[in-house]
């Protein structure tokens, strides 16, 4: 789907970077084909493992740079779980920390030029989002039994209003995993597409300087967005977890 603009400007399509290809050979992508998505997901996992294992293996009193980063990330998420979800939710901290580290590393690795962004695919983020949704829903029922349904019955509202609110609450509850996953994928996809559009403008001589400064600016913004979207995904997981543990309004 290459678009040829006059004057040799945009010679590639901005969405081409998201095509899932088999890594070895070029056949159809089947269920167990090793694709570029799989490669970059594995790289993200490898980076997280490397950071946490190398960072915490020495346990020095005066931390090295790697250990500082590992401790900083750990402390940051630990404080977030404690603040947002409450002290009793700290036992779910490993899950939330894993989610955060995985997303933040897939986002940052995707910013390397010529790399691939796995989190730009709704298929990837939907697994994460629906994983959180099912985990939280099952946990809510296990912890509170039928009392979990109190989440939909707003007892602080007037009685006549409650059925209406219950319907709205139920709809908003089931939209959660959709918005949760599409927010991440949409942000990353949009950012990378914008970068590629500006890269296409850079080939047109008249606007090239402007486009290159545009790329620098957008790239800086994307670094910020990569972190913020991982943060938002994690904090929303914490909020949903709080709803599951304490469903009463």
């Amino acid at each position: 789907m290459a678009t040829e603009a006059e004057g040799g400007g945009l010679v590639f399509h901005p969405m081409d970077q998201f095509i899932v290809k088999p890594l070895f050979g070029d056949g159809a992508v089947g269920m167990f084909t090793f694709t570029n998505v799989a490669l970059w997901l594995l790289l993200a996992v490898a980076c997280v493992v490397a950071l946490m294992v190398l960072g915490t293996s020495k346990r020095a009193t005066i931390p090295t740079r790697t250990q500082s980063v590992a401790e900083l990330a750990y402390g940051f998420i630990y404080k977030m779980v404690e603040d947002v979800t409450g002290k009793d939710a700290v036992k779910y901290f490993p899950y939330i920390f894993t989610l955060f580290m995985f997303i933040v590393f897939s986002n940052f690795l995707a910013l390397i030029p010529m790399s691939f962004s796995p989190t730009s695919h709704i298929a990837v983020t939907a697994i994460l989002g629906f994983g959180v949704f099912f985990a939280v829903t099952i946990l809510g029922f296990v912890k509170n039994g039928a009392g979990f349904l109190g989440l939909f019955w707003v007892s602080s509202a007037p009685l006549a209003l409650r059925p209406v609110l219950a319907i709205i609450e139920i709809i908003s509850y089931f939209v959660r995993p959709v918005s949760h996953s599409i927010r991440l994928a949409g942000n990353i996809m949009a950012g990378h597409a914008v970068l590629k559009v500006f890269a296409g403008f850079a080939a047109i001589t008249a606007v090239a300087p402007l486009a290159i400064f545009g790329i620098i600016g957008i790239y800086a913004l994307e670094v910020l967005v990569s972190f913020i979207q991982a943060y938002v995904f994690t904090i929303l997981t914490c909020v949903y977890l709080k709803d599951a543990l304490h469903p009463s309004h």
Binding site: M80, V84, S179, I182, R183, N187, M189, V232, I235, L236
Partner: protein, 74 residues
């Protein structure tokens, strides 16, 4: 599909990102106004700020998604 109606629809759906921009600006602006009145309470509310921004932004992303679907899936 040059000059298709779907392209016009995709362009119209992109107006939604402008609406989301208004929403995000509202959240951030009101946060800043509140934070300048009472700076000591600001630090504890940054998490709420980001949740609010995320919710406002999600709907803009939906608009973007509709426009993508019209461009590539219809």
């Amino acid at each position: 599909m040059e000059g298709d109606l779907a392209h016009i629809g995709a362009g119209l759906a992109a107006i939604g990102s402008g609406a989301a921009a208004i929403g995000v600006g509202n959240v951030a602006g009101n946060y800043l106004a509140g934070a300048l009145r009472n700076p000591s309470a600001a630090a504890s509310q940054t998490a709420t700020l980001f949740i609010g921004i995320a919710f406002a932004e999600a709907l803009g992303i939906f608009a973007f998604l509709v426009s993508l679907l019209l461009m590539f899936a219809v």
